[in-house]
Amino acid sequence: MALEWYLVLSGLLFAVGAAGLLIRRNPLVILLCLELMLNAGNLALLAFARSHGNEEGHVFALIVMVVAACEVVVGLGLIVAMYRRRLPLNVDEMRGLKG
C-alpha cells in the first residue's frame, strides 16, 4: 500500500480529534480527542518509518505513547478531582484563568 493512504488516514484521524477538541465541552471527551490526535501522529510516524526502512520513527512513536500515558494520568486525575468536588464537567464554565 502506498504511503499516501496511511497519511490520509492519519490526517483524517487528526482532523476528527481536533474538531472534537474544539466542539465538545466535556473534559473527558476532550481528553479522548487528544488521544486520537496523538495516535494520528503515531500512525504517521510509523508509516514514514516503514517507508524509509529504519527504526527512528518507531522510537518516536514509543516516546509519544509514554507521553500520552502520563498525560492521561494527569488529565484523568484532574477530571476525577473535579468530579469529586462537584464541579461542573464543562470546560466553558471553568474560567478561573480569565485575565
Binding site: 481536533a18 477538541l21 474544539l22 465541552r25 470546560v91 466553558d92 471553568m94 474560567r95 478561573g96 484563568l97 480569565k98 485575565g99
Partner: protein, 672 residues
Amino acid sequence: MTVDTSSAETFGWLILAFPLAGAIAIALGFRFWGKAAGWIGTGAIALAFASAIGAFFAIQDLPSESRQVTSSLYDYASAVGLDIKLGILVDPLAVIMALVVTGVSMLIHLYSVAYMDSDRGYVRFFALLNFFVFSMLVLVMAGNLVLLIIGWAFVGYASYALISFWYRRNTATAAGMKAFVINVIGDIGLMLAAFLLFGELGTFDYLALFEEAPGHFDVNDGALVAALLLLLVGAFAKSAQVPLHTWLADAMEGPTPVSALIHAATMVTAGVYLIARTHPLFELAPTAADVAAFIGLLTLIMAATIALVVTDLKRIIAYSTMSQIGYMVVAVSIGAYTAGIFHLMTHAFFKALLFMAAGSIIAAMANRQNIDLMSGFRKAMPFTSALLIIGALALAGFPGTSGFFSKDEILVYAADRGGMYWIFAIGGYAAAFLTAFYSFRIGFRVVWGEPCEEARELERGHMAHGEPENPVTGEKEDTDVGFPGPEHHIAERAWPMRAAMGILGFLALFAGLLQIPGVTAAVEHFLEPTFEGSALFEHHPSTGSAYLGMLVGGILALAGIALAFQVYVRRRGVTAGLVERYRGLHGFLFNRWYFDELLDALVYRPTIAAGRVASNVLERVFVQGIVNGTTGIVRGVGVLVRGAQSGFVRAYALLVVGGFAVLALYFLVVSS
C-alpha cells in the same frame, strides 16, 4: 653573639594570657562563681602583674642594645608582600606600660571586690573588667599595627560595655553609645593610617616601619604627615583630646571603679602610648608632632577651665583627666618622652586614687555626686578624706609629690627646647595654677567646712540611704540588676578598698622619687633602649633650669591651693557673687565651651538633615520613582494583553490548532 630572649618572650605572652583566662573563666562560669568572681578577677590580674614584673627583670638582664624582643605565635596572614604576625614586642616602653596597667588594674579590681559587692551584676562586672585589661594589654604589647588595632577596638568595646554597665539607666546607655561612636571614629582614623603606612613602606611591623621610614620619607613628607594625622585621630579619640573629647565626661555614668580604671589610669592614656610608640615617625614629620602638641595644649587649658565650674564630683575629675592627658600629649609630641611616660605613670596612681576616694564619698552620699551637697567629711571619713587630699596634692603638683616632678619635667623640657615651644611651657604653667585651684576646690569643699547631713549621720555610725535615683536627672530608680545595687560601701568599712587606696596613696606621694632631676633618673634609664637614636630623647634640660622650673611650678601650685583656701574655706559663699558677676564666662565654662553644641551643629544636625534629604528627595522621588515606573510599565502592558486571556479553554485550543494550521500552510507554500 645571640642573646637568649626566651624568658622575656614567655613573660610577655603570660601578661596577655592571665587576664584573658580570667575573663573567659568568669564569663563562662557566671552562674557558678557568685562572689568568688571578684577574687578570681583580682587574682588573674595579680598574676599578670607578676608576669609584668618578670618581664621587667628579664628585659633588664639583656644587654641594652637587644632589649627590643619580638615574638610571634603564628602568622595571621601571609601572602606576597603581606606578612601579619600575631606578634608582640617586649621592650622597655611596653613593659613599663604593662606594669602600670596591670598594677593599677589589680588595685582597682581589689577595690571593686568591696565596692561593687551588692551590685546584681557583680560577675558580669568582673568578666568585663578582666576583658578590658586583656584588651588594653593587647594594645600595649602589640608588635605590629594590626594587633594594635585589634586591641584598640577591643578596648573601645570594653569601655562601651562598662560605661553602659547599669544598662537600665538611660543616661548610661546613651553615654556608652556616645563613647563607642567617637571611639570608632578614632578606629577608622587609625586603620586608614595603618593602610597608608603599609602602602608606603610595605609592612605593619613597628621595628620594620621604623627602620624603613628614614630612607623612604623626606622630612615632613606629605604622605607621612597625612598618615600621622590620621593616626592622631585615633589617638585623640581614645585619649579624649579636642575635638573628640566630649565622650569622656559622659563616660562618668559608669561605676566609679570603671572611671578609675578606664577613664583615668589606662585606656585614655593609649593615645599617649601610641605617639610615644611611633616616635621615630613623628620625629620624621615634625609638622604632625606640632599639630599634636598644640591640640594637647588646647585640651589641657580648656579642660582645666571647665573643671573650675563643673559641680559633679566625678566630672570634675574627668575634666582634670583630660587636662592631664593634654600634658602627656604635649610631652610625647615635643620629644619629652621620659617625662610624658613618667607623667602617665604618676597620673595613673593619683587619678585612680582620686576616683577611688570620690567613689567612697559618693557611696556615703547614697550615690549623689553633686559637690554642692557635700561638705565636712573629714571627721566622718578620716581615711577617705586623707587619701582624697593626697590625691589632690599630687594632682595639684604640691612640691615633693609625684605629680610635681612629672609635670614640671614636661614643662621644663618645653621651655628648654625654646622658640615656639615656650608656648607650651607658659600654657602648661597657667593650667598648672588652675589645676591646683580646682583640685583643692574638690578637697576643700568635700573635706572641710560644716558637715553636711550625710556626714553627720555617718559620724553617728549610720550611713545615708537615700531613695535610689539617677544622679544626673534625679529620676527614681530600682536597685534591681541593671541599676546600682541597694547597699553602698565606703573605704572606712571595707578593707579591700582601704588596701587599694593605701597603696595608691603611697605611690602618689612617693613615685616622684624615681625621677628627681640631677639625683635619680630611673625611668629614663629604663626607657633608653626604646628611644635610642632619638635626638630629642638625648636632649636634656640642665639641672639648674630643671630646679628653676620646679620652683615656678611649686609656687604656682601653692598659690593655686592658697587661692582655693581663700575662696572655699575662709570666705565661703564668695563663689556665688563671682558667678553672678561673670555670668557670661561662667555659662561658657559651665556649658563646656559649648563643644557638645558645636559638634551638634557641625556634625549631628547636618547628618540628620542629609538623612532627611535622602529620605524625602532621593528615596521618595528617585528610588520610588524608578520602582513605581517599572511596575507601571508592566501593569500597562498587562492591561493591553489581558483581553487575550479569556479563560475560555476551547478558544485557547482553537488558537493553538489555528496557529499550527497557519504554520503548516506557510511551510507548504514556501516549499512548493
